[in-house]
Symmetry: C4
Subunit: 278 residues, 4 copies
Amino acid sequence: MYKQKSKLNLLRQKIHIIIYGTNTVAGRLFDLILLGLILLSVFLVMLETVKGFDVKYHHELIVLEWIITVFFSLEYLLRIYTTNQPRKYIFSFFGIIDLLAILPMYLSLFFIGSKVFSVIRALRLLRLFKILNHPKFTGQSLHIQQALRASRGKIIVFIYFVLISTIIIGSIMYIVEGEENGFTSIPISIYWTIVTLTTVGYGDISPATPLGQFIASMVMILGYGIIAVPTGIVTAEFSKTNTDKTAPEKQVCENCGVGNHNPNAKFCHRCGHPLTLE
Amino acid sequence: MYKQKSKLNLLRQKIHIIIYGTNTVAGRLFDLILLGLILLSVFLVMLETVKGFDVKYHHELIVLEWIITVFFSLEYLLRIYTTNQPRKYIFSFFGIIDLLAILPMYLSLFFIGSKVFSVIRALRLLRLFKILNHPKFTGQSLHIQQALRASRGKIIVFIYFVLISTIIIGSIMYIVEGEENGFTSIPISIYWTIVTLTTVGYGDISPATPLGQFIASMVMILGYGIIAVPTGIVTAEFSKTNTDKTAPEKQVCENCGVGNHNPNAKFCHRCGHPLTLE
Amino acid sequence: MYKQKSKLNLLRQKIHIIIYGTNTVAGRLFDLILLGLILLSVFLVMLETVKGFDVKYHHELIVLEWIITVFFSLEYLLRIYTTNQPRKYIFSFFGIIDLLAILPMYLSLFFIGSKVFSVIRALRLLRLFKILNHPKFTGQSLHIQQALRASRGKIIVFIYFVLISTIIIGSIMYIVEGEENGFTSIPISIYWTIVTLTTVGYGDISPATPLGQFIASMVMILGYGIIAVPTGIVTAEFSKTNTDKTAPEKQVCENCGVGNHNPNAKFCHRCGHPLTLE
Amino acid sequence: MYKQKSKLNLLRQKIHIIIYGTNTVAGRLFDLILLGLILLSVFLVMLETVKGFDVKYHHELIVLEWIITVFFSLEYLLRIYTTNQPRKYIFSFFGIIDLLAILPMYLSLFFIGSKVFSVIRALRLLRLFKILNHPKFTGQSLHIQQALRASRGKIIVFIYFVLISTIIIGSIMYIVEGEENGFTSIPISIYWTIVTLTTVGYGDISPATPLGQFIASMVMILGYGIIAVPTGIVTAEFSKTNTDKTAPEKQVCENCGVGNHNPNAKFCHRCGHPLTLE
């Protein structure tokens, strides 16, 4: 009896290593299959919405979808079974995403034909963000996050300024162009302003009066120019973190107190005293 | 009699702290309510211009608008009453904005149905710029302003160059494409050039002749490339101010009080007094 | 006789100072009037092409145009008369522009109604580039030119790469989309590719087949991404010239040979020896 | 007999120098003619697809095309004949491109009227990339490649993030806007998202519901802002390689041969040997 429990425990541990780990061959294989199935399932969700395709291969799509759902369900249950803190996993971000990846298919048995349920399955895609935790990308990903976090304050001030400008310009264009030229309300005018300021320029609404076209030209030049602000902010942060990384800030010569040594310097560049390596 | 005046003075002071200050609980609460009301009032101005909505809730919108106007009016009067320099406030930028925020509603009693009056109320939005004076954002906001001010000269030269190019390209396109392809006049051609150069690209006017399309392609590549110039200018300024910040700001000469020393300076660069290393 | 010639010479010198110089009051006033007239004349050229306006004010426009032309002609003749090297001026860039600014009006007397002649007058605008020689802007303008010249080699390689990619992508899209979807020839397909790659996106031609839309998506992401290359090149140059400017490279301490002093340092930061100011 | 072979060998060597070398006058002339013919042939491919032109000059186009093809064929055969490693050349990237440049014309004799064959000839253009091997551009080209390679990791993470966002936003817009507003399937919605996020904005599909327009506005601001990320990454790399270049590259320790010293280093950072100041 005890032995059997121990055997079960061993199995549980083995599955844990396969599902959660990335160091064993089996673990990596499992990750690869999972990645492939997620991509396949998202691809299926897309194809289902394409008219001609769904009519032709409706049956095959459903069968494939159920196979994937069963696999994901098994994986979900095994994850809960083999972890030591099942509650923590279930209510974690990825735990909820994992549940949302399988729930819609079961619910579709009861609520037939709901388009929303069908599309929620596309959220499985969010599981792909897990890959960014892979050691190969962690450094890169962290560096980007770090630069963005450092420039957050300035970016917020910038977006705040842009949004207020957007509302004011939108209100002015609503008066100038009026409803007969497609600026049917202030919210629509603001939508047009954002389309123009960000240089997207659909052309579904475009100014028709000379004054409107003049203001629009100013808005375009403004939008073309102020892109320099967020770019400048983020670039300065990237450059800074680059510099910080290459410069060992704490290595100071014991003899003369000079810092700013080369990353792999062994002797002080001013007095020639040996440096103690940290 | 004297006591009563003193009491009144005390009340005035208390209100002053609530309205102008941001350090007390009441002051912060007042700021929050004000912020909410400004947003609500701007939201109302927007909704009023949406056809279906205005017809349905016309009465409710008017009532809400009057409540907000009365609150803003009270706030305006209290600001004048509690400040020591009422004239300075009234003719300050934010003083005028505060007045423009309430005036249109009273004027609309006499001049009924003016769309312009209605929309001027959207200028209340400008009051939101006050938030950027909040200590949390001042630093960030100053940094952006500083970088933009430093690059102002170069940006003006750049815009000057772009505007002249715009007029010349517009004139050429007017000759090349002509009125039959939508380039009905030089101002319209210039408008098209700005739309193209800033990569907005509405498509309301687009070249139809091979030569016109060739010139348009050149303009697009030009516009795509020269965005690098303002971005480069602003980014260089951001990087520079960044570097200035990381330099030890606190090392000050004990003898003459001068700062801004080299990172590894041993002697003051102004008086030659030895610096104490921190 | 001699005296008269000397008097004439004096007048010639005086006019020279007014026309070519910018230091006297009269010289600056002359420059301002000239600037105003150039702007007015370009504005007139624009207005003439606006249908409704030209019909209404045809007579007034012609009269104004002749006044400006006579003034420009006088200025042109005086420039030739007062300079010491008339040949050099006549065949210089601005000399030719100055001639082109007046010639079309006289030619229009013989060749009536030519639109091209009329628009050439817009080249007067090029005279405005003279302003960039003004001491206020020279520094800024030089800095931009310097950064662009330094990055010229890399920009050429980049544009070369973009142009070849454009032709290849255009050829592929011509095969994929075909004439029925607006891609009527390879040149048109290349035009579409440039419109897409530079993120202008008119929408006059847009892919209709799934494969075409997929390739278009790739082109867009490519175009969105590679803007980083010219921006990066130019920004790096701006940052470099910035750094070069702030660091006085030649001030070296006579006593210990250390450089890298503060711009206004009076004493060496390493040994405290007084610095000799250059 | 031996002499004849030697003579042939000499001829082979001479041709080798002309075809592969760039140092002799003949070699440079050959390169220029080749460059001209490649451009001409690509130009011909383009013109052939223009309807009116092909009808008018069909015969001339064909003759010119055959002349170019014969020249290219001769060049191809001579390249194989004169190189010491014909196999290596044939299966190299440029060897395959050179073959693809002539093959379609011969195949068109058997498979008449195939548009695809005709357009493949445009691949001749790829031969132009050879120019980037020219010493004049190698440095510049390498610098760009180096900066891009250094930022590859971060760019991949960024594109990964953008692609997943694109699919999620596309799915949401498919539900919100629906088929009646042009969002006929998820792939089409994703296509729209990419068009919007990259600020291309064709306008062939554009949101019509208020909620859709609100989400579109958010996507535009997101797209407008995140361009800062790749730009920041690449710019930081360009700045870094720039800085490395300005650092004194030639100061090498006499004792141990190590370089890369601090600008004002007095002792070698590896062995402590005093550095001789230049």
